[in-house]
């Protein structure tokens, strides 16, 4: 069912926009692109270019970014045993953002963005975790507050860099709000290897994330090297986040909304949450992008605004339910 939803949403993403395309013709044109298949379709050359060079990369990148942000969120929630852990709240996105801003500000090549963003993200999640441990305990609030502090620090340094490099302000600002507007196929190819590597690791580790839910001692008693698993998952999730952030900017709350909804619907096991986060994360972000494109048409909203608009109240609901159960 999850796959069917993704197909419908992706198709809607291809059809809806300032120029309406006929669903039948779009399906024919898509079929025509399959290897060894030739199908006559009625799209004009302009419409074909619109479909394959503008809408399709945007849908694909939306799906990829949504999938990796959701699965990274699920991964962080598993290793930190904390349902509020999310790439955004742990400061990872801000750290990655700082790295990306530095690259844009210094005028280095955009190919370096994912790597530097990854370094920024790893530094941020490391700082958040270390800070929460030194402050005391592993409570949900300590971890999130540490994340807020790290994110604030990263944002402050980012603002400083922007002040110093005034000419790139507009470019970085539009990127901070999160956008899928300017993406083309080149960004898709940049993102795919990182997304694939990170998603593979997280999918393979999903059973061990359930084991970590028993606590460090019991997991070790079951023969699991807890630190090694934690390190691997954090590296994979941070790599995924950094790659997503480097092409789409800061898109918040996907990592909370998607895994948490799946958890509510299917129960606790990461065996289910991890793979479904990939599929529903993709659907969610394509849908959010549809909203961003159509809500104030002909203008566009930054997609980060749409996800934050939905995510902030959702975050409060999760927080309330946690308080209720504790």
């Amino acid at each position: 069912m999850a796959a069917a939803i993704l197909v419908v949403v992706a198709l809607a993403g291809l059809l809806v926009g300032s120029v309406a395309l006929s669903p039948v013709e779009v399906i024919k044109a898509l079929a025509d692109r399959l290897p060894f298949v030739t199908v006559e379709h009625g799209l004009s050359e302009v419409e074909t270019r619109l479909l394959f060079e503008l809408r399709m990369p945007r849908v694909v990148i939306g799906g990829l970014v949504g999938a990796v942000l959701a699965v990274a969120g699920a991964g962080y929630q598993g290793v930190f045993r904390n349902p509020l852990a999310d790439p955004y709240l742990l400061g990872v996105a801000a750290g990655a953002g700082l790295g990306a801003t530095a690259v844009i500000g210094l005028g280095a090549g955009s190919a370096a963005i994912p790597l530097v963003a990854f370094v920024g993200g790893i530094a941020a999640v490391g700082a958040t975790y270390a800070l929460s441990r030194t402050v005391g305990g592993r409570t949900t609030t300590t971890l999130i507050l540490a994340g807020v502090a790290v994110a604030a620090f990263a944002t402050a340094v980012q603002t400083f860099l922007l002040q110093r490099n005034y000419e790139t302000l507009r470019e970085v600002y539009s990127w901070i709000l999160g956008r899928l507007v300017t993406v083309g196929w080149s960004e898709v190819w940049t993102l795919i290897p990182y997304a694939l590597a990170a998603a593979t690791v997280l999918v393979l580790m999903r059973r061990l994330l359930d084991v970590l839910g028993l606590g460090d001692e019991e997991a070790a008693g079951l023969g699991v090297d807890v630190m090694r698993v934690r390190r691997l998952v954090v590296l994979a999730a941070t790599l995924a986040t950094a790659a997503a952030v480097s092409v789409s900017g800061l898109i918040a709350f996907v990592g909370i909304i998607v895994p948490h909804t799946i958890r509510l619907l299917t129960g606790w096991s990461y065996r289910v949450i991890i793979p479904l986060s990939l599929v529903y994360g993709a659907s969610f972000l394509i849908l959010a992008d549809l909203g961003a494109r159509t809500l104030v048409a002909p203008a566009e909203l930054p997609i980060g605004v749409v996800t934050a608009f939905l995510g902030a109240p959702f975050f409060l609901l999760v927080l309330r339910s946690m308080r209720g159960s504790s």
Partner: protein, 258 residues
């Protein structure tokens, strides 16, 4: 069988256990008793390999493999609220799977056996948070059994159970070690229960073995009072020694009456 050889544990430079040497044979049940802080849990954790220790722990001369050789049930297990009983018991198969591996049919069969042995079939789809204390304890034991390890270390396995359920769980353990030759080591606060079920008792006090032997040898006032304090009376009948707590000022006739 499992042997602790000169095992000692220190926390922040302070010795809390040992050196302790103990051997428990195949199919034997050793009961660890002793007051709070005597080192029972720490000795079990050292055997599992999750606290750093001096000395060594082996299985008949063979090095132990975490999880595959020793199943450990902690005193206060962390139960993920929303996880179902079946998924929870399935985690017991972890030591037999590679990091990236997944369960095969014989793993699922082991889980099925553990679930039916602990009478959890009707509860297997229920989230752990909806179980009563006794049901949850049985689920934890089922997870330990699913490990199919030759040695079972149980830290207070009856702590949240009423006497009926406590007896039920201990009878299951007794059956397992009799039929499957499992080596069982339990840390128990209930001295009478420990004496009824274990073949041999070891009294730990301040991290050292203070007494060792059969229930009738260890459960005596002379042995227990130095470790636990004076409020203990031991009565022996046909079932073995029964340890009764007494109050120091229990003479009710001295209380004021109106």
């Amino acid at each position: 069988m499992i042997s602790w050889r000169d095992v000692g544990v220190s926390f922040s430079g302070v010795s809390v256990v040992g050196p302790v040497s103990l051997t428990v044979g195949d199919g034997e049940w050793l009961g660890l008793i002793g007051p709070n802080g005597a080192g029972k849990s720490t000795l079990l954790k050292a055997a599992v390999g999750i606290v750093a220790h001096r000395g060594s722990v082996d299985l008949g001369g063979r090095e132990r493999r975490a999880g595959a050789d020793i199943a450990w049930m902690p005193q206060r297990p962390l139960l993920p609220d929303e996880m179902t009983v079946a998924n929870y018991v399935l985690l017991g198969r972890t030591p037999h799977l590679g990091y990236m591996g997944s369960e095969r049919s014989h793993d699922l069969e082991s889980v099925g056996r553990a679930i039916s042995r602990l009478d959890l079939i009707d509860l297997s789809d229920r989230p752990l948070s909806t179980l009563s204390g006794g049901e949850a304890q049985r689920a934890v034991l089922a997870r330990a059994l699913a490990q199919e390890a030759p040695v079972l270390l149980l830290d207070e396995p009856t702590s949240s159970l009423d006497i009926g359920h406590a007896l039920e769980v201990l009878e299951i353990l007794d059956e397992l070690r009799r039929h499957e030759g499992l080596t069982v080591v339990t840390a128990l606060h209930d001295l009478t229960l420990a004496g009824r079920f274990a073949d041999r008792l070891v009294l730990l006090d301040n991290g050292q073995v203070a007494a060792e032997g059969s229930a009738s040898e260890v459960l005596t006032e002379a042995t227990l009072i130095p470790s636990y304090g004076a409020g203990i009376r031991v009565v022996t009948n046909g079932d073995g020694p029964t340890v009764i707590p007494t109050r120091r000022h229990s003479d009710r006739s001295t209380q004021p009456t109106d």
